[in-house]
């Protein structure tokens, strides 16, 4: 087909004004396609943002997931549960997308089997944990603070030790992850004093 300017091809067709469809039809089709695309993208994205997706890989299911099941974030008297993405994926869209792009590296790890045995996982656990601690530290433990905050804690209901430590944390502008490493998974072997700074 030859266009008005005598040029051919797919892109030329896209650039050519429609002589057949009304602007309203084109807009409607555009909106519908946009909604379908956006909805599909978000649905796919959210499908990766579930505990079921996380533990569909044996690396997570066999290593960190059983440890998390022993903790208060999995089982508690009030029935509130924080699942994998609640702690490990930001809620804010921009930060979530950045995290998802970073996480695409994990696909490569999956393909080449970086942590596909217990031994390999344990050998890499400290490095992986440090990455996550650094991410949480940099965001002032943003994902913890989706549910918790020092300001809203009732210190009278806390044990003496927690009361004291939280008062210190407030004084020193500390963040949750400074003290709460290992709150949902076992602490790695080989941690150094720098890991507790």
């Amino acid at each position: 087909m030859t266009n008005l300017h005598g040029k051919k091809g797919f892109f030329a067709r896209l650039r050519r004004p429609s002589a057949k469809y009304s602007v309203a039809t084109l807009l409607l089709v555009g909106v519908v396609l946009g909604v379908l695309f956006w909805g599909g993208f978000n649905t796919a994205l959210e499908a990766t943002n579930t505990e079921a997706f996380c533990i569909s890989c044996h690396e997570m299911r066999d290593n960190v997931y059983p440890e998390y099941k022993e903790t208060i974030h999995y089982s508690n008297r009030t029935g509130v549960r924080a699942t994998c993405p609640d702690c490990h994926v930001p809620k804010n869209w921009t930060y979530k997308m950045i995290r998802k792009v970073q996480a695409s590296k994990e696909l490569w790890g999956k393909l080449v089997g970086t942590i596909d045995t217990r031994e390999k996982f344990e050998a890499k656990r400290l490095e992986l944990a440090r990455h996550e601690w650094q991410r949480m530290k940099a965001s002032d433990s943003r994902e913890c603070r989706n549910c918790h905050s020092l300001a809203s804690m009732n210190s009278d209901a806390q044990k003496q030790r927690a009361r004291k430590q939280h008062a210190t944390a407030l004084e020193d502008s500390m963040t949750c992850i400074d003290c709460h490493k290992g709150i949902a998974h076992h602490k790695p072997q080989g941690m150094t004093d720098e890991d507790e700074e």
């Binding site: 003496q160 030790r161 004291k164 150094t192």
Partner: protein
Amino acid sequence: MKKTLLSGAVGAALVLMTSLAQGAAPADWNSVQATEITLFYPGTSAVEWITKGTEHGGARALKKGETCMDCHSEEVANMGQLIASGKKLEPSPIAGKAPSIKVKVQAAHDDEALYLRFSWTQPPASGGAKMDADNPVKIAYMLEAGGKVELAEPGGCWGACHGDARTMPGAADGKTKYVKGGSLADGVFYDLNQWRSGENKAYDGHIATERVMQGGQALVSAQGKLDGDTWTVEFTRKLAGGTGDVLLEPGKVYNFGVAIHDDNSAGRYHHVSLGYHLGIDAAPDITAARQ
């Protein structure tokens, strides 16, 4: 006759002077204020563990100057339960080991001596092996002056408790408690007094570069008895002694810790207090008031 009377009077005066010089324990201990402290089973929680942030969440608080009591005073018995049961810090738990012991501490002093009285209910025997067959019970207290021993101020006896001391996992049998930078000359030591029930004997020693169970000159006597299921042990200790003895002065406060070896135990298998502070006419945790 005159001579007999005279010698009798001189003798009586001498006895009176001696007893005055040595002082005397309170005639009625019931009138002396009692402080109840809880001793707990500490397992392998040596100073190296206490100060390691990756193991002990309170290491950071300790560095900031908080004391063990600041965070743990309300949960001492629970800590003993966790450790004695082997859930934490005890690789070889002893079945039936008492998790904690509540001890009533009373203190008084006069111009010459400090009087300390400890009483507690004997916990049930574990039925385990007798580590010290001669002594069903031993009780000791340690005093430290001026906070020269690292951790003595916030942590009582923990400044002397190390992971490489005997009965700790993998430690040599000959290695005793010791203090970092221990020096009698520089005052970097704990003064240690102990009473052993089987031997019925008092020991006056110290801990500097190693634990020494003799050589002190302050301890006058220690007597203990088991009445029913209640132990009562009284120490009389001169305010001033010699090398390896902490000099006690009115108005001053001393770092103070108590340990009981119950159930024929030895080494680390004891019950210990967190770090307390004993004041001579001063009122920190435990006060020895002038009588």
